[in-house]
Symmetry: C2
Subunit: 160 residues, 2 copies
């Protein structure tokens, strides 16, 4: 799994605390990661409609939905793509004892079993929302956890 997913997840959580657009560069500085590359992940979130990009001088990214309506699966699929973890290449149709194509009406048993596991994984990701994560953060770090972040995000531009 690409590490860009981790960055995107953290960004979505901190965007919960922001009440105005936050530039990608600022999010990158907060997490101490490559700003230009984080921008790529945010573009993915933007294409998926999870965040809205605001251009111009005081632009940046804002969540489009309420945190309770954004699931982990939404973010993972937005960044890493929605393709299943296991891709069946139909090797049963190859080789000297290949199964004829007309007999392959349904996916092969291996593909089916992997599909079940893939759906279980996605179902688990769908169970957790960004709001849940934000609540866990305050449970872990205290109710003032986001106050400092909100203040830092909205600091005009001065080096802190």
């Amino acid at each position: 799994m690409s590490s860009g997913v981790e960055w995107a997840l953290h960004c979505c959580v901190v965007l919960t605390a922001a009440d105005r657009p936050v530039p990608a560069a600022r999010l990158a500085e907060l997490h101490d990661v490559s700003g230009t590359y984080l921008a790529k992940q945010l573009q993915g979130l933007s294409r998926a409609g999870l965040v809205r990009s605001v251009q111009g001088k005081s632009g940046g990214y804002v969540l489009t939905r309420a945190p309770e309506d954004i699931t982990l699966l939404d973010i993972v699929e937005a960044v890493d793509g929605a393709q299943p973890t296991f891709l069946c290449t139909e090797i049963r149709q190859r080789g000297p004892l290949a199964t004829p194509a007309e007999a392959c009406t349904k996916p092969c048993p291996i593909s089916r079993a992997m599909g079940v596991a893939d759906r279980a994984w996605r179902a688990a990701l769908r169970e957790t929302t960004v709001a849940d994560l934000a609540r866990d953060v305050v449970d872990d770090n205290g109710p003032t956890a986001f106050d400092g972040i909100r203040a830092w995000l909205t600091t005009p531009d001065g080096r802190n």
Copy 2:
């Protein structure tokens, strides 16, 4: 997910039908894949103890356990490694507002949620055994499905 996993899974299923060691090259020919590379995956299965390698003239690979005692998870972890799909890089401890290390007694909420999903995926893979897959194959392709494979596998060496 690496495609070597798919090859290894198919190999384990067909090894169910073999009653003597099958060389890697023969398994590769059956599936029409790179023999030298398939050998690499089989090495992984061997290290994990799922198959036993027999050297010498009539050597090859044999399953070490009964098919109903080999789960999909065993094979996936043997080939792809047992590392979790999501690796937390602890970016909460980086940047200007880094969480102090002494406050990080437990994994961050994001890591925990991803861990839940990862365990759900693995639990699903643990539910299916190689014996289940073999049974599904005969359900799909008829009771004689493995007869041809067994005969072909045990054909001495002649081009068929």
